[in-house]
Structure formats: structure tokens, C-alpha cells
Amino acid sequence: MRWISVWRRNMLVWRKLFAAAVLTNLADPLIMLFGLGYGLGALLPSVEGMSYIAFFSAGQLCTATMFTASFESMFSGFSRMHGQKTWDAILYAPLVIDDIVAGEILWAASKAWLTGSTILGVVVVFGFASSPLVLLALPAAFLVGLAFAAVGLIMTVLARGWDFFSYYMTLFMTPMMMISGVFFPVERLPAPLVAVAQALPLYHGVELVRPLVAGRLPDSVPLHMAVLLGYAAVGYAAAIYFARRRFSE
């Protein structure tokens, strides 16, 4: 439980910079949700039995959660580790690098969860979802946050500079967003791309959240949870491995 002091440190900074944090984490995805949702939605008939904006809101909830987790663990994490040398200072105390990695991942997941739940609030307030089942999207959003926080932190502890993150975002996150059923049903894609999407975490987040927004229980819940938890666990272990290596230099 020593990681909690690292988590609390980051939470305290977030509280101080609350306005800016909320603006960047929420305004962007919400503008996109309403812009694309209503704009594109006006041209489209219902998708999978939902209005386009309701369909898209489930994908957008997962995407925004993914982005918050990734930005926090990569850009903010790298700034703490590399720029401010905050990690070095923490290591003077009776904490080890594993505690810091755990604290960073759980913090980024918590912050991402807050983004996800706020978007969920918007989804409910605007009537895109009406079943109480949609509340189950809250734990699902936390799993999405956890998976991307952990994978993002691998990038952070491997990074030698800020440019490194553009590779991850351009080569991994953006294509994944396109094939994971965020904007349109995955069934529209050629089979090989579907297979790729199924191997990636975002798809499983969307598969969990969309049925809940539609008011029914998702299929294959254990599988989706296992994939998200798997990414989180492997990401955590790999981040610790590379962080130990980096800090033993």
C-alpha cells in the first residue's frame, strides 16, 4: 500500500490544476461526441438499433477514457519521471520503483475513470441511455483506464524523449481507434482487421460499454474483462521491469 502516497501526490496536483485538467480531458471528447454524433447522426439511420449518437457515445466514452489514461501515464508521467525528477526524490524515501509504477498506473486509471464516468453522466442526462444497467459501464471504464495506463507507462519508462510518444499514438492508438468499433460497427471491417481489433484492448472496452448503453448485458463479459486485465497486468509487469532497468543506470 506504499503506492498510495504516490497516488495522493498526483491527486493533489490534479486538484490544484483542476480547471485545466477538466477542460482538456472532457471538453475535447464532448465536443467530438456532440459534433460527430448529431452532425453525422443526422445523415445516418439507426445503427445496431440505436441512434448514431447513442451508438457513438459508448465508443467515445471508451476512447476518452483511453486518452486520459494514456496522456496521464505518458506525458504527465514522463514529466514527473524525467523533467521534474519527482521519481528520484520519491526513491529517497522507503519506496522502491515498483511502488511508483503501481501508484502512477492506479492514478492514471483513476483519472481516466473520472473522465469515463463524467461522459457517462452526459450520456444519461441527454437520454442516450436509459437502463440502470448503464451503471455497469463505471467498472468497465476503470478497466479500460487501467489497461491503457499500464501500457502507456511502459512507453514512459522506455522513452528517451517526448517524440517517442508520437510513435505510440500514431502507430498504435489512432489505428486502433479506427478498427475498434468506436465510430462504426466492427462488422464493416475485413476479417483480418477484426482479428487485429480483437487482440487489442479498446475493442473489448467498447464491447462491454455499448450493450450497457443500449440497455442489455454484454456477451462474453469474462473474455472482455480478461483481455483488459491482461493488458493491465502485463503492462504493469513490463513497466516495472523497464523502470527498474532505467533506474539502475
Binding site: 504516490v6 495522493r8 521534474q84 528520484d88 526524490a89 526513491l91 524515501a93
Partner: protein, 302 residues
Amino acid sequence: MSVLTARGLRKSYSGVEVVSGVKLDVARGECFGLLGPNGAGKTTTLRLCLGLIEPDAGEIELLGEPVPRRAREARARVGVVPQFDNLDPDFTVAENLVVFGRYFGMAAREIEARMPALLEFAGLAGRGAAKIATLSGGMKRRLILARALVNDPQILFMDEPTTGLDPQARHLIWERMRHLTQEGKTLVLTTHFMEEAERLCQRLAIMDRGRIIAEGSPRALIAEHIEPQVLEVHGPGYEAWMQRACSLAPRVERAGDTVFVYAQDVAPILKTLGGEKDLAYLHRRASLEDVFLKLTGRDLRD
């Protein structure tokens, strides 16, 4: 009684040995200095002692705990003042102390109770709400010192604690450090300021190329390694004069355009300067710096 011992410490980075068999013994309540040119292995030695990196060979015991195996337990009673500022820029002075205290598992109430004394000690009384960006270099250093004291450590590791400070700020830090040793705390510092080492340290070790090449009190090191008197001479025609000086003194060195003459008694050599109107000179007692330069050489280290 030893609070820090190290035996046969070795550490290599990609085939280059930066610490080659270091032995340390630091007694409770003393101020121990680790001196050396850049790249001598001082910081690596400190990091090894703190258990932040693992040695390739050797044994370390810090406050009775084997390091790195139980470094975490040892660090609970240790304070660290790093060479570079790593205060939390998003926090105020007081928040920096509270957040740092939490890393030691301290409750906020416990830290708040220590806060006035810590701020007072750091000369930052009434500045608890100040932002880090508004502090001067000296204030930041003092805050880092206060931060290192938040857990009331028994031993403090200070890596070049006054590098980059102006003389006023440096003297204040020195005064605080003496205060800490009077309270019974042990200080281990690295420095390449000879004046700092001479003023503060009861005992010091001179390190070069990963090895400790001399150890003792500042006075003993001077007495053991160098002639007590020094004459520094420079100016036009110093080369010709240097030829003469060589026959009169046991050791004559040249660094750039300055001649250093070391001797038990420089009076006979001073006489030869009487007729040399162009030469400027300085006659002084030998210092730790002379020992340092003799042992580590005058070549630049980058």
C-alpha cells in the same frame, strides 16, 4: 560506532568500472566528506550506499541494515539532499514537505507539527504558502535540506550541497550543517569545494577513478601529503625564474602560466623574487586543495 560501512564496493557501467573497491567507515555524529574530481565515482558511491543501485560486489551496512537487501528499512531513517533540485514545482513550500513526509508513511498531522521547526531551520519561516518558482536558488537548497529532515533522519547524505550557490547562501547552508552535526546527526557529503570540506568535515576521503586514494582529517591529509608552504608565481619571465626555483625547492609545478612552489620553508625562494619586478606572487599555507591537486593531478576532468 559506525552508522555506515562499505567494504570492497564495485560498480561497472557498460564495462567501465566507476567504483573500484571502495571501503568506507562513517562514525555516528561525524561529518564525513567524499572529495573527488568530476567522474570520480562519488555520486555512484552515495547511490550504492542508499541502495538505489546494486553493487557488482561488496557489502554495505547502513544504520545496521544490510543494503541493498533492507535499503527500504534503512532509508526510513535517512535524509537525502540531491545535487540537483527536484522539488515539486506544482506545490507550495509547505505542500512539498507534507507530500514528502507522506512517502515516509507520516500522517499529515505529524508533518504539520514538525512544519514550523523545519521552516524555521531552513530560514523559510512564514514562507509556507510560497510557490517554488518564487524561491531563490539558496532558498530552494534550504527547502531541500528541510525536506530531507522531514522524517527526522539519523544520517544525511548530501551530494554537492552548495554547488551553484552564492557565498551568502553557501555560508548559511554550512552553518545549518554544523548545527545538524551538533544535534548528533551524521552527515555524509560529496563535494569538490575544498573550502567546504576543510571547514565542515572531521574526516574525508579523496576519491579518484573509482578508488579512495587518501583518507583522514583535513589537517592530517595536509601534513601527510604536502609541504606546508606554497608560493604561487606568475607574470612575464616566470619560465626563467622557474628554472632557478627548481634547484631550491623539493617540488615545483606549473599549471598554465602559474608556477607553484611547495617547500618546508620558502624564505630562500622568496629572496630570489626580490629582483623580479615583473613577477607577481602569493605566499600562503598549503591547503586541502594542494593535496587534492597533487593526488588527482591538474588535468581537466570532464
